[in-house]
């Protein structure tokens, strides 16, 4: 399998166009962006001008050094020492997501968010959204004052007027928000209700799971999103449920799922994941078996799966049209039944009936009480599509006297939002607490901007029984006020929200509430010991099947499938440049959304530009009378007949970074009596004739045929031979004998007397989420370069995740695929539904580093701790090192990205407010120097210093790189290879020879081992849980 398997990074590589070959041969796609004289070359006069300016500048600089001030605190807070970081446990809460986090502050400024290891809702993991949220605090486009009808005002005035109006208005008060899981917020709203009587609270979710909640409401008697425990599942079937990329508690889902994928000498079993979906999602790309389906098939896939499982269970089957190709479903059903009690079926459908069938399947599989815990629910999703629809009709009918939009933006992220906003004229008092002049606020009279979560007190109960606390880590930057405090003021309650929360916590405290509260504040959460409610599900599948409507076995026409991507997410943080520049894990595109279409269909319909460079044809998609226009990207794995489009883009009033990026997919969400629908049939895609560039990060830089960068196998092979899938390159010596690369060397080697830092990347655990990329960007002051520069292939991320597609083994190809192959479209068959591998790639910290030998000024050198050091102040920018780097991980500063109006989207470096997020321990690099991953040397140095101050050796785990710390799946393990007790030493089973270190773990390999550059980063082979001799044929 190894020899024949082919990997490719994108369609252009598969097609191997002339343009692609041309680019692949170059380290840098273009040369220095300095334009010379008229003919292009710098003239002699230019040279003299530059020279004269240079001399003048140097002499001026030499004359007088600028006077710099040192300004101490007037009154130094006891627990703040300039230069020493403080860490506070808190809770991330933006949009409708909540995560338990630890906030790192320096001199009172939050600069980094990390996961809270103690909390059971995140277990130390974070997501891209969480990592980025610290920059949203320093967003200069947040509102700086309360506003009445667009004019700045003060709190006293606005409170007075709001209170008068709320009391005088006839009709009810409607509070609209995303799902609220904060007990104290609910109490604050209750306080309003106590004062003004008829106060209703409408909750919705930008990406609704109302169908799932209603289904559990029918099946158990209470609407809830029960906790799924992926760590207990050995067979998982996902039908369009992107639980790794779009579900609530993503970080925990990733962690739990990855824990079932870890392999080692003591654990040779892993879970198996089946995915049936339209768009290639993060979950689908991690699946062992993936089948593309159209959204209109979802209901029948679930029904057919129900029947297959019911047959085995001896339960009654239901009437549902049989799908044509059920081979994969049968296989899935077999596996599910075999592992019943440890099986899990999840669906992403927002159709209550589909979800009810899924509940029925899980019930047959004995999932309740094992992989699904009915006593614990995820409270971050409570939205109800019907109550929102009711609100809209109430507003239209004039039944609502006042509306309070509490931190939500329905005009943008709800398909009925536009209707709601346009009829706001019938509401006497409109209030919003949003932090910026967003799409909804523009039609609102009173704006009382809320604090950012890093400035707020709050409590949340994201999972039943697990209450997390939020504490301010900075004083409010602007004249904002916590929304809950506003509610209390309007309810004539003068308590501070902090006191109000504490009061609510009184019942939990055994004695003194203050000391109890402080302890919880330190940990960040409190787990309530409540007896688990004994809940059961009951679903009459036959009745449900009768209600299943609108699904067809053989879909026709084009269907739209709306999804949430892992970078911008639901669009709440669309003005965050870190998220905008974070490439989508699958398409590797950033700064845009686009239609993803099937490759074969694209070629049939001529939707693709032939041989272009990130050029995509623009088309208008029309569905249910609404249309949007965006570029069309042929996407491997996309189901034939479907078009994918991500939400979160197309903001018009998010701020200068997010405005006008992409198109708004929420407008296409269908709404009917059955709730919202994120897919639609009978779509049309019409080319506009335009061609647009979409910035993608993985279109150049190939490994030029060296396919062994990915080494993978199947579980069966691995169980037989732990070295399965490994490649052992041999080097020919002069005498004709062949030896392993480490046996010959031109190099003298290094001695590492003290530490020897290294990293493991487990390809089997990595789900490709990209959280490490943002964590690294935050930690290391990596500039945002913007769409233009990404198009020029000058992105600066130090750690990237290479996404490789590969062909599925032939025995897995469907008959449809085989027909394609007969018509000599083997490539197309391969991309129809490829396997996906994610490979995080960062500086490999080679012991025999090729970059070091070519630097003419010794700006990159080797340290006695195994680090490949990059000294910015010595670098003169020859870029020889990048040319000589086999891993292509060096990044060149083509421009001055800080204090440069041309890069004003790079907000962390271009205004005083944004700069507060910069890590003061890391240099902001100048134009013309090379940079790359340093293994977070600032963290290593600081960890060592802490140990020295205490007169001890650093403990394993104490020193962590930002990427390893953020990784929700523990795919990245960093540590000291000289410490025999460290996790890395034990996992790799290191063997030390005189001047080198070898890993004896069977799965560990070096990328491009044949080059003998001896990296300090080890990769562990990818193992897919596939049966060796699948005969999957119709």
């Amino acid at each position: 399998m190894k020899e024949t398997k082919k990997y490719w990074k994108g369609v252009e590589q598969l097609e191997n166009t002339a343009d692609f070959q041309d680019r692949a041969s170059k380290e840098f796609p273009e040369y220095l962006p300095i334009n010379g004289g008229e003919n292009g070359d710098p003239s002699r006069r230019d040279f003299l001008k530059m020279m004269g300016f240079g001399v003048a500048a140097v002499s001026l600089a030499a004359c007088e050094a600028p006077i710099r001030k040192a300004i101490p605190y007037v009154n130094k807070p006891v627990d703040v020492d300039p230069g020493v970081a403080n860490y506070y446990a808190s809770t991330y809460a933006m949009g409708n997501d909540v995560a338990s986090v630890v906030v790192k502050t320096r001199e009172g400024r939050p600069i980094k968010i990390e996961g809270n290891d103690l909390s059971m809702i995140s277990e130390g993991g974070t997501t891209t959204q969480v990592e980025s949220s610290v920059l949203s605090l320093y967003d200069g486009e947040r509102l700086q004052n309360p506003k009445i009808a667009g004019e700045d005002t003060d709190w006293e005035t606005i409170d007075g007027r709001i209170k008068t109006e709320l009391a005088a208005n006839a009709g009810k008060v409607s509070i609209v928000s995303y799902s609220n899981c904060s007990p104290s917020t609910a109490r604050a709203i209750q306080a309003l209700r106590d004062k003004y009587g008829d106060v209703e609270h409408i909750q919705y979710d930008p990406v609704s799971v109302s169908g799932l909640l209603d289904a559990y409401g029918d099946a158990t008697g209470a609407r809830s999103f029960p906790m799924h425990d992926f760590s207990k599942a050995s067979t998982i079937v996902s039908i369009s449920a992107d639980f790794l990329g779009a579900w609530p508690n993503q970080a925990l889902n990733n962690k739990q799922f990855a824990s079932t994928r870890k392999l080692g000498p003591d654990k040779k079993e892993m879970s198996r994941l089946y995915a049936f979906e339209s768009n290639l999602s993060l979950t689908g790309s991690n699946a062992d078996y993936r089948s593309p389906i159209a959204p209109s098939q979802e209901g029948l896939v679930v029904a057919n799966l129900y029947n297959l499982v019911a047959q085995k269970a001896g339960a009654a089957t239901i009437g549902a049209s049989r799908l044509e190709d059920t081979v994969m479903l049968e296989k899935a059903a077999n596996d599910l039944w075999k592992s019943r009690g440890k099986a899990l079926v999840v669906s992403g459908s927002n159709d209550k009936n589909v979800q009810l069938l899924v509940i029925a399947i899980n019930d047959l599989l004995q999932s309740y009480g094992s992989t699904i815990d009915l006593s614990k629910s995820i409270n971050t999703r409570q939205g109800n599509d019907n109550s929102f629809a009711q609100l809209v009709s109430d507003v239209k009918g004039g039944a609502v006297g006042s509306v309070i939009f509490y931190n939500c933006n329905p005009a943008y992220d709800h398909p009925m939002g536009a209707q709601l906003v346009s009829s706001l004229g019938k509401v006497k008092t409109t209030i919003s607490t949003s932090d910026r002049m967003d799409e909804t606020n523009s039609s609102v009279k009173y704006i009382t901007p809320d604090h950012h979560y890093l400035e707020s007190w709050n409590d949340f109960e994201p999972v039943t029984g697990h209450i997390t606390l939020s504490q301010p880590t900075i004083k409010n930057i602007f004249n904002t006020r916590q929304a809950q405090e506003s509610f209390l003021r309007w309810a004539d309650n003068d308590a501070s929200y902090y006191e109000f929360i504490k009061e609510g916590w009184q019942p939990f405290a055994d004695g003194d509430v203050t000391s109890f509260f402080d302890k919880c504040l330190h940990d960040g959460f409190y787990n309530v010991d409540a007896p688990a409610a004994d809940k059961t599900v009951s679903v009459d599948a036959v009745v449900v099947a009768g209600n299943l409507k609108g699904y067809s076995a053989k879909p026709s026409g084009l269907e739209l499938a709306i999804y949430t991507n892992y970078s911008v997410g639901d669009g709440t943080q669309a003005n965050n440049p870190w998220l905008q520049e974070m490439p989508d894990p699958i398409t590797k595109a950033c700064w845009d959304n686009y239609f993803t279409v099937n490759l074969r269909q694209a070629s049939e319909n001529d939707w693709a530009v032939k041989g272009g460079d990130m050029d995509y044809k623009v088309a208008t998609l029309t569905v249910n009378g609404k249309s949007v226009t965006a570029p069309v990207i042929p996407q491997p794995g996309q189901a034939y007949g479907t078009v994918g489009l991500a939400v979160g883009y197309g903001r018009t009033k998010a701020g200068k970074v997010g405005n006008g990026v992409g198109v708004n997919a929420y407008t296409l969400v269908g709404s009917s009596d059955n709730g919202l629908s994120y897919s639609a049939k009978n779509a049309t895609l019409d080319l506009t004739g335009e061609v647009k560039k979409v910035a993608q990060t993985q279109t150049s830089q190939t490994y030029a045929g060296r396919e062994t960068v990915i080494q993978e196998t199947t579980l069966g092979e691995y169980q037989k031979d732990p070295q399965a899938g490994r490649n052992f390159p041999m080097i020919s010596k002069a005498d004709g004998s062949k030896v392993r690369p480490h046996a010959v060397s031109l190099w003298k080697g290094h001695e590492y007397p003290n530490h020897h830092w290294g990293m493991i990347v487990d390809l089997n655990s990595c789900t490709g989420c990209g959280t490490c990329t943002v964590a690294c960007q935050t930690e290391n002051n990596i500039p945002v370069v913007g769409k233009e520069e990404v198009l020029n292939r000058r992105e600066m991320h130090w750690i990237r995740i290479d996404r490789y597609y590969s062909e599925r083994p032939e025995n897995e190809l469907t008959s449809d695929d085989k027909n394609l192959m007969e018509v000599k479209q083997k490539e197309l068959a391969a991309v129809e539904n490829p396997e996906v591998t994610f490979q995080p790639m960062m500086c490999q910290q080679c012991n025999n580093a090729p970059c070091e030998t070519v630097c003419p000024v010794a700006a990159t050198t080797h340290s006695s701790e195994g680090l490949n050091q990059m000294t910015y102040n010595r670098c003169i920018g020859t870029r020889y090192c990048a040319n000589n780097c086999p891993y292509k991980v060096r990044r060149f500063n083509w421009f001055k990205y800080h204090d440069n109006a041309k890069f004003d989207m790079n907000t962390p470096m271009n205004n005083d407010l944004g700069k507060m997020v910069l890590n003061p321990d890391v240099t902001v690099r100048a134009r013309g120097v090379m940079e790359k991953c340093t293994f977070c040397v600032q963290r290593i140095q600081s960890g060592k210093l802490d140990a020295k101050k205490e007169g001890r050796r650093p403990q394993d785990g104490e020193i962590q790189t930002a990427c390893a710390k953020s990784c929700p799946t523990d795919a990245l393990v960093f540590g000291d290879m000289k410490d025999p007790e460290s996790r890395i030493s034990k996992t790799l089973k290191l063997k030390y020879s005189e001047k080198s270190v070898e890993a004896t773990e069977d799965r560990a390999y070096h990328v491009l081992e044949e080059l003998r550059v001896m990296p300090n980063v080890w990769y562990m082979t990818k193992v897919r849980n596939k049966d060796k001799n699948d005969k999957i044929e119709a």
Binding site: I67, R68, I71, P72, V74, E107, G108, I474, P753, K948
Partner: protein, 430 residues
């Protein structure tokens, strides 16, 4: 630029509180009444190893307040074992407060003499006390050190001493050379005169003898012009290069500060520990410029009328009449003296806490500075030189144990910072 963003966290009120170990007050010893207890003195050992051990303990624990030949916060200790009994010293060192409380006359007298400054209790063993006394005795026997070496000697001074020495040798050599040249010229002239008088010289020889040195021809000769141009070019180049090296080097930089704070008075005259104000020096990368609330610990009482102190009051909005604080505060904008470039990472705690360096090593005679100036050049060469010369302070620090062992297997020299990667780029540049 060290901009300290004065955002206060959860609460807006902070207590005036400093780290307790910094406010520890030290106790002094005085020379009171003469008592000759020579018998006891004889018991003090004189072994070299004991003296060495005593020196280490003394330097680690006592030098904050004591010197052998000099009165600091506490008295000079020369001959202390002559003046007091070993038992008395033993109990005094271990717990002076108990001794004072017991009403011991000598102890009380000493306490009074040194302005009721308490000496902290040291948990030494009897042997350790004997070692310290042995060291003090050995130092006493050596006699007071020469005047110029008592102060903390800085590298720069050492250099100038040796160079002036060199200079005098050169001057002597030049004088000797000059005399020799004069003697040679006189000899040559005499010889020429004799040859002119001599007979029997042929024409060629005659010409050589009567040759005149033509100065103007020499000055115009290519050789001479070339030499002058060469020397001139070298000199210009040297000046330029030397000048280039001083770009950005602000050694001696002594800006005027918004408040005329004198280190000479505070650190010198009153011997206030540096860490009392520079609280970050042991735990942070920056030593911290004290916030005015630290000043107020004393200046609510001391020199309240002074014009300079009024500036502190203005900054912290303190009303000396009513002794109350207002809210109209504005931070003091000190002019930063030591400016490392942003590309260099420096951490005070590494040097002061881990390496146990004295502040004066880099900051110079700070206790004599009325107005602080930049004493060291703060160039990379200066850092590197120190890392080459300085032994790593490995004592009692488990972090270094394995490194010391490895080093001692390979070398007999003490382990320098350089030997454990102290010259590597990424130690300071990242």
């Amino acid at each position: 630029m060290l901009l300290l963003y004065a955002f206060d966290l959860k609460s807006s009120e902070y207590m005036f509180k400093t780290t307790p170990n910094l406010t520890k007050i030290f106790l002094g010893i005085a020379f009171g009444i003469f008592t000759t207890m020579s018998l006891n003195a004889q018991e003090i050992p004189t072994d070299e190893s004991v003296v060495a051990a005593g020196e280490a303990t003394f330097n680690a624990n006592c030098t904050q307040c004591h010197r052998i030949w000099e009165v600091r916060i506490g008295p000079a200790l020369n001959g202390v074992s002559e003046r007091r009994s070993v038992e008395w010293l033993n109990s005094w060192i271990k717990n002076s407060q108990a001794l004072i409380a017991s009403g011991d006359e000598e102890a009380v007298a000493l306490y009074e003499e040194y302005d009721k400054t308490l000496m902290q209790a040291f948990p030494f063993s009897d042997d350790q006390v004997m070692e310290i006394l042995a060291y003090i005795k050995a130092e006493t026997a050596k006699g007071p050190p020469a005047e110029d070496t008592t102060a903390t000697t800085a590298e720069g001074e050492g250099d100038s001493i040796s160079s002036s020495y060199l200079m005098s040798i050169i001057i002597i050599l030049v004088v000797v050379l000059g005399l020799a040249v004069v003697a040679l010229i006189i000899a040559a002239r005499t010889l020429v005169r004799h040859l002119k008088d001599a007979k029997g010289l042929d024409e060629a020889e005659q010409e050589v003898v009567s040759q005149q040195f033509d100065v103007s021809a020499f000055l115009k000769s290519n050789n001479f012009v070339g030499l002058v141009v060469f020397v001139f070019t070298i000199l210009v180049l040297k000046t330029l290069i030397d000048g280039a090296f001083t770009i950005g080097v602000q050694q001696g930089y002594q800006p005027e500060q918004p408040i005329a704070f004198s280190h000479e008075i505070h650190a010198g005259q009153y011997e206030i520990d540096c860490q009392y104000c520079h609280t970050g020096v042991n735990k942070s990368k920056s030593a911290n410029i004290p916030s005015p609330n630290i000043c107020m610990n004393c200046h609510t009482q001391v020199k309240t009328e002074s014009e300079e102190i009024q500036k502190i009051y203005a900054a912290i909005d303190y009303d000396p009449e009513t002794k109350t604080y207002g809210t109209n505060t504005k931070p003091i904008e000190w002019v930063r003296i030591h400016n490392l470039p942003d590309l260099a990472y420096f951490n005070h705690s590494q040097h002061v806490n881990v390496a146990d360096l004295e502040c004066e090593t880099c900051h110079g005679p700070i206790k004599e500075m009325e107005v602080v100036y930049q004493y060291s050049s703060l160039t990379m060469g200066w850092c590197i030189n120190c890392h080459r010369d300085t032994d790593v302070n490995t004592k009692g620090n488990e972090y270094y144990d394995k490194l010391v062992k490895l080093h001692s297997e390979q070398s007999k020299e003490p382990m320098k910072v350089e030997d454990i990667g102290g010259l590597e780029c990424a130690k300071c540049h990242y």
